[in-house]
Symmetry: C2
Subunit: 529 residues, 2 copies
Amino acid sequence: MITGKNYIGNLLSSVGTINFKTFNPQTNLENEIVFSEASIIEIEKAVNLATEAFKTFKNISGVQKAEFLNEIAYQIEALGDELIQTYCSETGLPEGRAIGERGRTVFQLRSFANVVEEGSWVEASIDTADLNRQPIPKVDIRKMLVPLGPVVVFGASNFPLAYSTAGGDTAAALAAGCPVIVKSHPMHAGTGELVASAIIKAAEKTNMPNGVFSNLNSSGIEVGVSLVKHPKVKAVGFTGSIRGGRALYDMAGQRPEPIPVFAEMGSVNPVIILPNATKNKGEDWAKTYAGSITMGSGQFCTNPGLILGIKGEDLSNFIKNLSEEIVKIEPTCMLHPNIIGAYENNKAKMLAQKGLTTTADIKSESLKNYGRQAITTVEGDTFLKNTALHQEVFGPFSMVVQCENTEQLELIISKLEGQLTGTILAENEELKNNRSILSTLQNRVGRIIFNGVPTGVEVCASMVHGGPYPASTDSRFTAVGINSIKRWVRPFSYQSWPNELLPDELKNENPLGISRLVDTIQTQNAIIE
Amino acid sequence: MITGKNYIGNLLSSVGTINFKTFNPQTNLENEIVFSEASIIEIEKAVNLATEAFKTFKNISGVQKAEFLNEIAYQIEALGDELIQTYCSETGLPEGRAIGERGRTVFQLRSFANVVEEGSWVEASIDTADLNRQPIPKVDIRKMLVPLGPVVVFGASNFPLAYSTAGGDTAAALAAGCPVIVKSHPMHAGTGELVASAIIKAAEKTNMPNGVFSNLNSSGIEVGVSLVKHPKVKAVGFTGSIRGGRALYDMAGQRPEPIPVFAEMGSVNPVIILPNATKNKGEDWAKTYAGSITMGSGQFCTNPGLILGIKGEDLSNFIKNLSEEIVKIEPTCMLHPNIIGAYENNKAKMLAQKGLTTTADIKSESLKNYGRQAITTVEGDTFLKNTALHQEVFGPFSMVVQCENTEQLELIISKLEGQLTGTILAENEELKNNRSILSTLQNRVGRIIFNGVPTGVEVCASMVHGGPYPASTDSRFTAVGINSIKRWVRPFSYQSWPNELLPDELKNENPLGISRLVDTIQTQNAIIE
């Protein structure tokens, strides 16, 4: 049952005075439950509980953390239909998407459970002493990754499960040993509370310290600002707009003690279609991309918003095909009146840009809050001269740039801001002959894709979801996959420490049997003195 | 021969109008050579050359990078006596220290050469495709670390070799595949130019692209500011004061495209001496610490500036012994009149603080520019109330805090700013009985030491030289050891990429024979399709 309250540690709480409701974009009506925005007192309490919880949680074994994470996954599944129905009523997304995203969310939790249960992720490294070394003896030094402290996670509007309450940021932070305070996204506060209840149940069942998790409702920016500025908060995870992410990044950087903010923000995800692919496969790609651009009403951070090709008859045919295919697709519901409002607004602004031709634009009345897709095209020169054309239109929108030649194509790529992904559609031979384009593209993105679509982010060790600014605020980390745990940890050294007082990961006996770097050799062996 | 010019890529250049000289603190006279500060034109040229060089340097093999790094080490050694004499004349440090630091510097270069030659440092990770997976096929994704782009390194005043021109930051960045632009430290511009000449010789000899390295002279802050704000610069390394590091960090964070700044800054490196150690080993520790505090005239970032003990006769004896031992040591020359000026100034400010007792203070006239050591003591209450007492006095200075009890000791530790190191002097048994103190200390530091001194930073894989702010601007990285390479790289994914066009690190055949994570198993095996 959804109460509309905050979870301050294990307890429900609603002492604040600001209330709000969520909205069902399918029915165009407010949902019934009244949510209580977290007050300053509740924020303070949540942060203090998290700080206290950190003292024990940071030392909890990997096996215990795995039990906790697996139990969260189980409890989320146990929410059953209520979760799916709440998700749909707060997002306008279809049931299939809700079920798929739930699957992704529990898979992420279980992946991290496996990682921390196995234990080698801490990158244990041991350099043993050499008392006979000249001119000075070598001391014993041992290192491992340790958690940073309480982490604040901002729920993302477009992934109410996989990038929100128990999403990738939260799963990674808990796996690292960091208590988490979620600033719940106001558009899906009910979904957030249900998932939070699952986390709290799991925490209680597996004896985690009170405060290891809190869930704070908020309708405006105040709760988030208070959390990011709080001296006891040690890191921040965010998925959302460039404006929002940059504001948090600046705020965190200006603290007396600056803290890391990992913000995964906007991206137009450039797709480069080379001449032979345009000629021989243009029709197929047009169909595929019509699907990719409209998938989830274009509300993915990896949505292909920019397609770059070489001007000519083949590209003209591709644009024609893409435009014809995309209007065949039925518009779908967007997340919220605010989101569709921003989409229509940004689309209109873009369509009004000089030199831009609209080749597909569903103008007919569609259902309220449904995102009407559009395709536009522009000359390379015009694109180069007007950086307004480089901006993301969040929704089912894409722009095809007709470049004069490969030199201009490469120049355009070099002028793009940082991107999550870059895609090349090409025949094998022409890929080989355009290494310079690949090299330039590589500098601008976190992931490059050959003959595919950027939408769909596989959760695996090799995934990079991040990239040069403004795709993310720190390209040195990924937001997806097990390595995303590294955002929330730091290396820590013990020098000349007594063996029995070292954490198990660094003891001579290697009681956890993990893989360690011992005197420059990677091994699972114990150290025999 | 030292020319006083800048290296803009491989060429010497001096088109600017600002000149300066270095200073010999032993003779209290300026050195003769006139240095030309880099002009805006030269800065622009260096950055553009680095950006061009990055296009090829980022793809150079590990073996070639190793040749380059090893050749730099060789060329530095080949500078012979001229380097050592220049070093001494610009720092006032003794020849033994110069030789030791040169050894450390070439060791660092060779360590990174070994790492990149072997190649597994790129953390290659491969998730192969599974076209039969339901509900959607799994794509092939492969990941490795790639360099960020041109890196600016600020030379440190207190380590003219190991943390300057070809020091740890430069060695790590070149190993990563990033061109480096050094903002040379004005106090040792001659040493800097000599080392730069060795790097340029090595670059030419091993056919590195022009612009892979530049060395810019500067006497003020303008050159550094221009570099950090330059849109083509992608990361910054700095070792020095909190004020300087924070200014660069803020500047980099406020750019349209923020870039990472790794600044290793100040630290008082708290030492906790527990009662039994005070009682049974106090005399020995007093002698050892008198040496550690005055080592290199206290000009180490790991200098022990704060000692915390429990009030009583044993601690009083320790303070007495420490004070007696430290005045027996002859003062030594500090790096520069500015440094000794700041030391005398900060020491005087500290000694004037209410409630502080000075137990050792060499007042007698010593040689000009020699650092006169001092020991002070203060009650725990007084220390807690006055954060001015928490600040670093860079030089041969330390303060003993007499805490009321272990609760107050722990409270004081929890109130300290972030530190590079924390040390515990204790008997084994009392270490076990004070886990709460250890846990609190761990949250504030990057490295903890048992029964030793914080000075002396071993260069090895397990070393963490960094820590919570303000010890460094990002505790998630170390400035020393092979893992410091991670400051200058980011993960990058290839999706569905043709095998023959993948970098060698990610090809099925594993031609480099490196260790890779293949479908979640760490292995050196090739992938058989």
